[in-house]
């Protein structure tokens, strides 16, 4: 106790500025606050003529302060003010039962389940592919170039046909979306894991050879443990891509459920606040998912004896 108290820097105006927490978070907070301020100003400017025209159409007398108040609470603004977005978000999250189609929770769960299924399929496929590539010279030479090429193709462009074709085959709902997610997210996993599986030194591999370890033993005792950091790095990329895939895959399904469908409906009916609330939900989902992978990485690291 006393030791940690002693370790704290002496308080005072000069040293508070040197406090590690301040050093770390002050710049972020400043920039976030600046961005929010810019947002408010932009909302004011962009909605100005919209609100003023509204007043003039109704031929009601108005003052500048009326217009300013109007830009902050317009029903279909060009750019909603942050507090409007947050209240719409809170309203659609807490205002309805989670299973109601107007609830954002319902749409988020639909997208989340497609994302997670796609992520699981894609990562498993990616790891399996990496294992095959590491153990087979032929596949490394013939398949890897095509896998890399496949990523220069805008795969998301495939999403609508995929959904249409699978719909024609009688597949609806979760699976087509997850397949698109999986297709998008297998690549970072494959590339990362190929790197990870080949990361052990030649020395270490030689040592395994002198112990006459079988390929399976080399995999379990050497390649797999040394690939774990690469695994989590690529899983973090994969899960955010998987979410993007799920959202985009919901676009052609039109009026059905999901954050993507919510975006599309919002753009059809000009409900800007709804679009922004859906975007906020997507952002929260993305950061939550990445946080989860981060957490899993920490736990695995601790259990494998990595020093923090």
């Amino acid at each position: 106790m006393t030791n940690s108290a002693l370790a704290l820097p002496a308080t005072g105006a000069g040293s508070l500025r040197q406090h590690p927490l301040v050093l770390r978070y002050a710049p972020i907070a400043t920039i976030v606050l600046t961005l929010i301020a810019i947002w408010y100003v932009a909302a004011l400017l962009m909605n100005w003529s919209l609100v003023r025209d509204g007043f003039e159409r109704e031929e009601t007398p108005y003052t500048v302060s009326d217009v300013i108040a109007g830009t902050m609470s317009a029903e279909r603004p060009l750019l909603p003010a942050p507090h409007q977005v947050i209240s719409a978000f809170a309203d659609s999250v807490f205002g309805y039962a989670p299973s109601a189609p107007r609830s954002l929770v319902y749409h988020a769960v639909v997208t989340l389940s497609a994302t997670l299924l796609g992520f699981a399929l894609g990562s498993l496929f990616g790891i399996a592919l990496a294992l095959m590539i590491v153990h087979s010279d032929v596949l490394e030479k013939s398949l890897l170039p095509w896998i890399i090429c496949s990523q220069m193709v805008p795969i998301l462009a495939l999403a609508p046909i995929f959904v249409v074709v699978l719909g024609a085959l009688g597949l609806h709902g979760l699976l087509p979306k997850s397949i698109i997610s999986a297709y998008l997210c297998f690549f970072p996993v494959t590339v990362g894991m190929v790197k990870g599986f080949t990361s052990p030194d030649p020395m270490q591999l030689d040592l395994m050879r002198t112990w006459s370890a079988t390929p399976r033993q080399v995999l379990a005792k050497l390649r797999w443990p040394s690939a774990v950091p690469y695994l989590f790095a690529s899983l973090k990329v994969a899960i955010s891509i998987s979410l993007i895939g799920a959202i985009v895959a919901e676009l052609p399904t039109g009026g059905e459920a999901g954050i993507g469908a919510r975006l599309l409906a919002g753009s059809y009916y000009g409900q800007t606040i709804q679009i922004w609330a859906a975007l906020l939900a997507a952002a929260l989902l993305a950061s939550g998912l990445i946080g989860l992978v981060d957490f899993a990485e920490k736990i695995t690291g601790l259990r494998m004896g990595v020093r923090p």
């Binding site: 805008p154 462009a157 676009l251």
Partner: protein, 374 residues
């Protein structure tokens, strides 16, 4: 590869070829393989070539095997021109296909184990192997679609998509200009240069940099293509809204990577610049930016794909009646799947060419970097 396995595999492929004339060719009544002189001769020739390859072994087995594969491919494609076979092909046809598949797989495997001594030969091999592999995949796709008679609504044969590609070049050209030249390129240039400029400013004022780096990391993980409907609302249906999405999508990867790159130069080099009395501008031009180039190119490569995706997705939310994304969604709605595949091929070619150009520029400018020195 085990030479014994190559031999037995090729003999098996030859047996498949020889078995083909005996088996029924189609579910419908039609002339058998032995009654068609050209195809029959090609099959026998392929079988002979496989046997010869098995007898010689090694590198000449690959050459002979590939010649046999070619004549097998010619046989099946010739047979598919008969409407009685296309859609209801039977054992004889599939025996030839399987033999071709087996022989080509053996050849690719044999090629992959070869270690030529000269550098150009090795490089050539590294190109030939994936090309062969891809050609085999396309062949199997074509034969499977046409042999089983898969409905073109579900999946067209590659040849159908290619024919459509050739027949609708003017439309594809219009779409390419609309999506790629206007939307992608303009947005890419603006987004990447804005990211780089902000990174340079942030590197000058470390307070800004410490705030921007975590935020940039956060934003580059977000599903930013979701802003597409908003951009369409702000900038209208034409290309500016697509370019705006591309700007937003490419900005953050560039920012994060260039910030990392600008911090990549070592203490020694910085001290050296100081001892030369270089001011900030000189240090930036001579040290920080060149040291950041590998990172900047990394971002440019990531962004090349992201930009194309962003532009195409933005077109799903509304376009003038042209553009790759617009065409894909309307043609998919009309069940003209061959046109959809032609558009995808266009997007793929554009994407690969774009990526390839960036990679070439990278090689030309960062030749000094350790990943290129051997």
């Amino acid at each position: 590869m085990n030479p014994q396995r190559l031999r037995w595999g090729l003999i098996l492929a030859a047996a498949g070829m020889l078995l083909a004339p005996v088996l029924p060719l189609s579910g419908e009544a039609t002339a058998s393989l032995s009654a068609r002189p050209v195809e029959f001769a090609l099959t026998l020739g392929a079988a002979l070539l496989f046997v010869a390859g098995a007898w010689r072994g090694g590198a000449s087995a690959v050459v002979l095997g590939l010649m046999g594969v070619l004549s097998g491919v010619a046989t099946t494609l010739g047979l598919l021109r008969d409407p009685a076979i296309a859609g209801s092909a039977a054992a004889s046809f599939w025996a030839v296909v399987l033999a071709v598949w087996l022989a080509s797989a053996l050849c690719v495997m044999q090629l992959a184990t070869m270690r030529p001594r000269s550098e150009p030969a090795r490089r050539l091999l590294n190109i030939v192997i994936p090309l062969l592999f891809g050609a085999v995949v396309f062949y199997l796709w074509e034969v499977a679609i046409r042999g089983f008679g898969v409905s073109p609504v579900i999946m067209p044969a590659p040849s159908a998509a290619a024919t459509r590609f050739g027949a609708s070049l003017p439309i594809l050209g219009i779409d390419f200009v609309q999506t790629f030249v206007r939307g992608v390129l303009i947005g890419y240039v603006i987004g990447c240069s804005a990211g780089l400029l902000v990174a340079i400013v942030a590197q000058r004022f470390s307070f800004l940099g410490r705030g921007l780096l975590p935020l940039g990391n956060f934003f580059s993980a977000l599903p930013l293509v979701g802003v597409a409907p908003i951009m369409v609302m702000w900038f209208g249906f034409d290309w500016p809204s697509k370019a705006a999405v591309v700007v937003l999508v490419t900005f953050f990867p560039m920012l994060v990577n260039s910030l990392a790159g600008l911090a990549a130069s070592g203490h020694m080099e910085r001290d050296l610049m100081r001892s030369y009395g270089a001011d900030h501008r000189q240090t930036l031009l001579k040290l920080y930016l060149p040291a950041a180039l590998p990172f900047i190119f990394n971002a440019l490569k990531i962004n090349a794909t992201l930009a194309l995706i962003g532009a195409i997705v933005a077109e799903f939310f509304g376009t003038p009646t042209q553009g790759i994304g617009f065409r894909i969604s309307t043609e998919a709605g009309r069940m003209a799947i061959d046109m959809v595949w032609a558009e995808i091929a266009l997007a793929a070619i554009a994407g690969m060419a774009f990526y390839g150009l960036v990679a070439l520029a990278e090689r030309a400018t960062t030749f000094w970097h350790s990943s290129y020195r051997t």
